[in-house]
């Protein structure tokens, strides 16, 4: 299987535009720097050739944009979806957030995206990055040309990728991948083994850095309410000036709780956080608990599945049976 390249995707998309199968294309657009790729809509072959990119920085999950984009036009829109994006796509369909028949989903293969924070940790003066398969060639201004191991530059979400399988697509430009067993709960387990005091200090240090920019909420494909609790001026979570223990926890518990059973573990929240807060650990804690208490459940694996919080079993355990301070009895 040949590697998915920008040119293959452009010619595919342009072909579908020409045949009027789709009226526009939702993809990624080159930015000013090597790593600031942004989601964008393209209407013609020229626009695609001028701006479209597909490289190691196309981490942005495009599925959430379909909500607004499908409403703009009667025609179909083409969207590129990496394996993990297809879970969000399905979850949005489950929640009836956009009409399926207005979308042409093109599944693209993925070997993991790169984390620009990890690249910057190696050199501050990166000009460009070239993918050589197992390694990455990084051209810098002051540190020369570096060849780095690709695996070490992957973000956590790709190092612990849950699935290379596309669970939704109209057409696939990739080999059909598999669901992976990637130890994605090991960090959660490490925290669970700590004492309550240690956990408290860990989270206090992490969450107190939050600047309440709401990027984690805005990017999340599970956060699609038109009116959000956090937009309420009385919510009392936007008042960083008198920050203390409560404010951060309120925001983060509520954010994570609102996506319980709907979070597909796509990792977008952690990717966009300018403060590098490991938000995925909060989501994964919920996912792990659901798996333990209510049976394994993967949001977005199928369309129409019932989220664990809108379901029950009369024999579910009581909180007092399964939770003690620090450890679970199960």
């Amino acid at each position: 299987m040949q590697k998915v390249t920008k040119d293959i995707l452009i010619s595919k998309a342009a072909g579908l535009l020409d045949s009027q199968t789709v009226t526009r294309v939702l993809g990624w657009k080159r930015g000013e720097f090597y790593d600031d790729v942004t989601p964008a809509v393209f209407h013609s072959r020229e626009e695609l050739e001028n701006g479209f990119v597909f490289d190691d920085f196309c981490g942005a999950n495009l599925s959430k944009y379909l909500i607004k984009e499908t409403a703009k036009d009667d025609g179909k829109i083409l969207v590129f979806l990496k394996p993990c994006d297809t879970y969000s796509f399905n979850q949005l369909l489950t929640e009836r957030r956009f009409p399926r028949d207005k979308v042409y989903a093109l599944g693209v293969g993925c070997e993991g995206m790169l984390d620009s924070r990890k690249i910057r940790a190696v050199s501050e003066s990166v000009i460009s990055v070239r993918d050589l398969g197992n390694s990455v060639e990084v051209e810098t201004l002051y540190d020369g040309i570096l060849t780095l191991d690709r695996q070490t530059l992957l973000p956590d979400r790709c190092q612990r990728c849950k699935s290379k399988k596309h669970v939704a697509f109209d057409e696939l430009i990739a080999t059909d991948g598999k669901i992976l067993d990637s130890n994605r709960f090991d960090e959660v387990e490490k925290l669970e083994k700590m004492t309550a005091d240690e956990r408290y200090r860990f989270w206090q240090e992490q969450l107190s850095r939050c600047i309440r920019c709401n990027a984690c909420r805005d990017v999340c494909p599970a956060c699609t309410c038109e009116k959000c609790v956090f937009d309420n001026p009385d919510s009392g979570v936007a008042n960083k000036a008198c920050a203390n223990e409560f404010e951060e926890k309120m925001f983060h518990i509520v954010r994570a709780f609102h996506v319980v059973g709907r979070c597909t573990d796509c990792g977008e929240c952690s990717r966009v956080c300018p403060q590098n807060i490991p938000l995925h650990l909060l989501n994964r804690k919920f996912i792990k608990d659901i798996n333990t208490f209510y049976g394994t459940y993967q949001a977005g694996e199928t369309v129409g599945s019932r989220a664990p919080l809108v379901d029950y079993n009369p024999d579910d355990a009581e909180p007092s049976e399964v939770l003690t301070g620090g450890t679970h009895h199960v």
Binding site: V188, L191, E192, A196, D197, E198, R199, Y200, R201, F202, W203, Q204, V229, G236, N239, C242, N244, E245, F246, E247, K249, M250, I253, V254, A256, F257, V260, L282, K285, F286, D289, I290, F293, Y294, P308, L309, V310, D311, Y312, N313, P314, D316, A317, E318, P319, S320, V322, L323, T324, G325, G326, H328
Partner: protein, 144 residues
Amino acid sequence: MPITEYKPLIVAFCCNWCSYAGADLAGNNRLQYPADVKIIRVPCSCRVNPTFILRAFQKGADGVIICGCHPGDCHYTSGNYYTRRRMTLLFSMLDFLGIERERTRLEWVSAAEGTKFAATMNDFVKTVASLGENKRLEDLRCKK
């Protein structure tokens, strides 16, 4: 300043159909439980969303307890089953953030269980009292 015994402030969300009636029965039977338990009546235990609990802590509660009908007896048939899942996950998350596990509790109290209501509250107050003041979910802006 006189040394006063520390008395925790407890917020108890009680569903209208069972636990609130249970509290009433406890009162009618003159069963003793601390006056620092503030009862908030809700139509069903599943009316309590996580924000209520967090807000209670924010406004000064040291412990929060949710009481509802026994599983199978919810006035709305299944409300308390949802409550149970939600609270299990929420309590687990609070614990994950290092907030004392014993500050939150879920208990089923029927309209006939006045004695259980009083006993539950006495026990919960004792547990929370031993933890001391809620510091990990306090909001300085709300301190009197």
